[in-house]
């Protein structure tokens, strides 16, 4: 069984003089993620919950191999990801709610382009394109320039393209951020569908209801530290997720 393990990961960013002045600090570095460890398994949705600036996106970017941790390691199937980063990248899909597509091209052009970068054959690309475009309802618009599509349709195209290589690990940063209710529901349904396909799914969010609705496991991250990591049902034993979150938040601030 595939398991994604994050072990004692720390990430620091250098602060520019301007950033130091803005944050009223003399420190030259900012610890964005501090000794963070957790693991995600297939068929469950792991929710990384935390306020803005807590380090959620940085953590997901490290898992996606977009940035490297200062210390600590990430493993997939007990293999450190940097041992064969290119092979690892074939197995992950990094999605964000922010649109990341070039409006000049059509969905069909874009999925073909991305599929080729993932080393897929033309036959595989066409097969995946048909499956994904049909399931997301993009097939009718596949030859329309992306800039001419509605926001909801652009989001669906973005999701379809991020999954063109059929990744084992789905990393989704703020999945419903900025979406209207219909598009948000489509995304939620899509995540449930991926869960059924036994994918490893990690999402980051600051929305309690989304975690309660979708996630099986929750990790609470505050100021770069993982202060809670357990099944959702466990945290809900003593109260609502929101109540327990704020207890942890206040405790973390006292200790800071």
């Amino acid at each position: 069984m595939s398991i994604l393990k994050v072990e004692h990961v720390t990430k620091e960013f250098n602060l520019t003089l301007k950033q130091r002045q803005k944050q009223k600090t003399t420190a030259k570095t900012l610890v964005a993620v501090n000794d963070l460890s957790f693991q995600a398994e297939p068929g469950i949705i792991y929710g990384l919950l935390g306020p803005n600036g807590a380090g959620k996106t940085t953590t997901l970017r490290m898992i996606a191999s977009l940035i490297k941790p200062k210390s600590g390691s990430i493993y997939l199937d007990n293999k450190e990801i940097n041992e064969d980063i290119y092979e690892y990248r074939k197995r992950i899909g990094f999605l964000t709610s922010e649109l990341k597509l070039d409006g000049f091209f059509t969905p069909a052009d874009t999925i073909t382009y991305m599929g080729k970068l993932y080393g897929m054959s033309d036959e595989d690309i066409n097969q995946r394109k048909n499956i994904l475009f049909r399931s997301f309802g993009v097939d009718k618009f596949q030859n329309t320039p992306i800039k001419d599509l509605s926001t909801g349709m652009k989001q669906k195209v973005s999701l379809a393209i991020s999954l063109c290589h059929d990744p084992d690990v789905i990393i989704f940063d703020e999945p419903t951020n900025g979406l209207d209710v219909i598009a948000a529901r489509d995304v939620e349904e899509f995540l449930v569908e991926l869960k059924k396909q036994n994918k490893i799914i990690i999402i980051s969010t600051h929305i309690f209801s989304l975690v309660e609705k979708l996630c099986d496991h929750v990790g609470i991250i505050i100021s770069g530290k993982l202060v809670y990591d357990a099944p959702l049902k466990e945290i809900q034993k003593n109260g609502t997720l929101e109540e327990e979150f704020f207890k942890l938040y206040e405790e973390a601030n006292k200790n800071a």
Binding site: S65, K68, R89, I92, L99, K100, L101, D102, G119
Partner: protein
Amino acid sequence: MRNVLTIFLKELKRVFTDRRMLISLFLPGVLIYIVYTVMGSVITKVATQSSTKDTTFQVAYTGNFSDSKTEGQLPKLMSYIDGAMKNSSNNNSVEFKEFTTGELDTYKEELKAGKYHLVVTFTDDFENKIADQNAKNNVNIFYNGDSSASSDLYNYVTQIVSVAYTNYTVNQNGQVAANIGEKDMMGMKIAAMIIPMVTISILFSTVISLCPEAIAGEKERGTLASLLLTPIKRGEFVAGKILSLSTTAIASGAVSFTGLILSIPKLMGGFNISISPIDGVLLFFLVVSILLLFVAIGVFISSLANTVKEAAGYLSPIMILFMLFGMAPSLFGFNQWYLSFVPILNVCVSINALLMGSPDLLMFFGLTVASTIVYTALLMFAVTKLFNKERVVLGQ
């Protein structure tokens, strides 16, 4: 009115507190002043000064000189030229040969063959008639445009004639063709000053219109991170970008450059400017090599910027600086071999030498093209390293 003032002040604050904005707004103005000042001095230098040194000019002249000329004496104009040459810092001297009017065609042939630098014919009794306001006086001055020395002397003598005589025409006001050569070195000298500079501005403009959009634009749209998450190597990504940008830039640059070459004769008016097919091929290699380097520079600079606007703001002043390199060979008369290793300047020196008819294949085309390609490769390597930096990839 208050709201207008609020918006006005806010916009001013936006501009005058942004260092990058200030640089992109005001640096070009400063650089244009420098470029135009340098350009003015170059044009003056090219137009008025002779680059010919340590030469004994051969001048043949004819004219039935009467009272003013006695046996063994030179006519007044020739005396002026002789005196001016002796006082010149270029260590030139001049030898004169008088011939009869009937021998003109023979001497013109010898001028073309390079035996003489100038052939001068005066109307009969020229120096006495010149005092008569109603007399028709003319001096024909023939030079060989294929020879830089002959062109220089022609330019020099026509200036002396304008000082020595007031009631005259030169070459019957242009009715007589002065240049008996096939080229026109004076025109080529001016073209050699203008072409490198214009070439650089044309090629770099292409780069400014392509690179910021292709690199900083990817960052600005957020598509760069998506691409770098795929299993492609950073080096492959950079090579792919530079290759596609170079292809587009070469296509665009070729059209612009052809337009420039075709327009040069029109731009240079009366000068007889021509570039041989071999020179054209050499010029093509120089242009392609510098274009590749420009693309690499454009990609490198655009990688450091977070937006298209920011990248274009960085590249514009760089273009003006490079244009100065274009004028440098005419200004300083560069011909040292080690300049073949100075990027951009080496190509400008080579284009200049090519147009002036003195290309050194090893120095100007071997070393220049090779070193330019090496610099391009080094920059590509640097860009690949840049793309491994998180600040560059994420634009933070």
